[in-house]
Symmetry: C2
Subunit: 381 residues, 2 copies
């Protein structure tokens, strides 16, 4: 038998959700997980520390291409693999921008792409100057390691970040911070796309994301009432980012939409992303199938929607007991069109443990169904 | 963590295709496979002989319910499990009808369900009488073990089945044969449905199946130009079979449609079936997800179509080399909307090794796309 073998570093829900399309397509999926019993346990072939080049190199020998469930693998590890001829997708030179938000902002500036004002901060004075010049408030970020609201702080004075700005604090975050203008956005959008090493690029329809406490809670696909100009602009931005940063595989560009219709790049994710989970049922080709095809340098699949609307609602943990399964019967009985996804994770308040998706010709109905099903599943015992 | 655990006996493509919905729903799927490296290897937790009650009983201890990839597990084995309180779905009393076509015909006759004329045959004379009474030709079947054209023969005289009718031949097939009227059908249809132990029943839209050399080659969903009366009649028949035979899980009823619009029951399958593969993309709930939900006695999911039409074309092996993967790039490039499925089987001429599905508002286009993609994938090197 011939084989197409994809190796994923990281055993989280993104690796888990790559498994179904791998099974369908007959692709051999292998996962290097941090621990036994991860979300992607079914496809796990090695458990080990991705910070150790020997571990990752051993794993790489068993596959045709290395890709990622997360963006935390040290660049030095990936560069060592690449130096030995391993196909790493996205490559280390692209991931460098995902791992360090300052490098990302610098590169996007070189590409003249639209984004919030930003500056590199090394001390209290430069931060206070930036805040003063931007209406008395700003967003301060650690350049490395932040996600889902972690490593991000709204500041109205350097005093709000005294811990990060202390000598010790600065050392911990790598010597500098990123400050960004606090954009008065009307909503948040995400543009999902994929690109393969041969350069084929394809975008999905633009979606709206709704955040609660810094974590994605709902995704509406396509973004309601988006103008043709906005849709086109978002896709152009995504392609410019993808090509300009050398991204391969799935790329999510999170953006702010302003009252005057501008799109400003907020965050980037060089992997399947929460904003794209709707695509499992809502697109002819899901982000997970597309990622596998892209990293294998296969032609990309159609990103046409399967219906006019898709709504995704995240299932966040409510306590350390409810893993949603005890509520399946009630949710499925009342909501036969809702697609339930859970990630096999232990229950913990606030944890991303699953999601539901509804695909429909009726956007309002889809949103209501998805919310009601999520409510049933996340009810406390 | 709570757990929903389904055990599947048999490691073929049906068990394989249950894996993606199990992952999505967070259901723990375990497979008892005949051998290492089966189609369902990813979910395999035990390799052993399903004819041995100890093997199956050991497997059953690890799951909440036992179900099937095929219908070949001896009834005595299943009855022993049931006697020990194991949930077997479908239960042995239903599978008895699937395993023996004579018992199936007897039961369907008791239920007054429409089917070809039939008789139990023990000798040449009774066979010749039946043939003579039915226009000089009939279909002779071994009651046990036939599938995909095996164990089925068109006969115009008992001389055509001298081997099966010899003392030795009759002993081999259990002492009797089934003869059926050769129906002058205009086409073949299949009605897919599911039923859970609580009695909830739900049918999918009726489909047309196209056979080549006794093996399913194409499925058109829904069946083109089927009248409301035909659609309703097919669903009524499926429900009568499901309830009358005590089937749980997915049931496929294969039927002949005659020139005067009658539906006659041909074969039954008490498991996900080739005629239902279209439902992976073509239905809100696929037959594989539905089967898992049904055997766990969870509420059934919507069987509404995701689009007006779905077409499935089987990928049959062409030689002992081509497992289709070398042709992925060509097929995917030319057919970005086609969903390719392969089963991880070694190449062999005539073997069911995969399928492609196209979902579309345009039936003609869907059929053409699916056929063309299948042609690319099955081309010889």
């Amino acid at each position: 038998m011939s084989e197409l073998r994809v190796g994923v570093i990281g055993g989280g829900q993104l690796a888990r959700m790559m498994t179904p399309p791998a099974i369908n397509l007959g692709i051999t999926l292998k996962v290097l997980a941090e621990a036994e019993g991860s979300s992607a346990a079914l496809a796990t072939t090695l458990v080990g520390d991705y910070n150790q080049v020997e571990v990752v190199a051993e794993f790489a020998k068993t596959v045709d291409v290395i890709t990622f469930d997360h963006e935390h693998v040290p660049l030095a590890v990936l560069e060592a693999l690449e130096a030995n001829g391993v196909s790493v997708q996205p490559p280390s030179r692209a991931l460098a921008f995902a791992q360090n938000k300052l490098r990302m902002r610098e590169r996007l500036s070189q590409l003249n792409l639209p984004m919030p004002d930003w500056a590199e901060i090394h001390d209290a004075d430069s931060l206070d100057s930036f805040i003063e010049a931007h209406g008395g408030v700003a967003i301060l970020k650690t350049p490395i390691g932040g996600y889902d609201g972690k490593g991000v702080r709204v500041v109205s004075s350097s005093a709000d970040a005294a811990d990060w700005l202390s000598a010790e604090g600065l050392t911990k975050v790598g010597g500098h911070l990123l400050v960004e203008e606090k954009v008065a956005f009307v909503r948040e959008l995400a543009q999902l796309s994929a690109r393969n090493p041969s350069g084929e690029f394809l975008a999905w329809p633009l979606v709206q994301t709704v955040q609660a406490n810094g974590v994605c809670s709902e995704v509406l696909a396509p973004a309601p009432n988006a103008s043709e100009g906005t849709l086109e602009q978002a896709a152009v931005i995504a392609q410019a980012v993808s090509e300009g940063l050398g991204v391969t595989g799935v790329l999510a560009v999170e953006m702010f939409e302003t009252a005057d219709g501008r799109l400003l790049i907020n965050e980037l994710a060089m992997r399947p992303h929460n904003s794209g989970h709707f695509s499992i049922e809502g697109s002819v080709t899901s982000q997970f199938e597309q990622h596998l095809r892209a990293v294998l340098d296969l032609p990309l699949g159609s990103t046409l929607p399967t219906n006019a609307h898709a709504v995704m609602v995240n299932l966040l943990g409510v306590d350390d007991q409810n893993d949603f399964l005890p509520h399946y019967a009630q949710a499925q009985s009342a909501h036969p069109e809702v697609k339930i996804h859970t990630y096999g994770k232990g229950a913990r308040a606030g944890r991303k443990m699953g999601h539901v998706t509804v695909v429909s010709g009726n956007a309002e109905w889809a949103l209501e169904e998805a919310r009601q099903a999520a409510k049933v599943l996340t009810q406390q015992a």
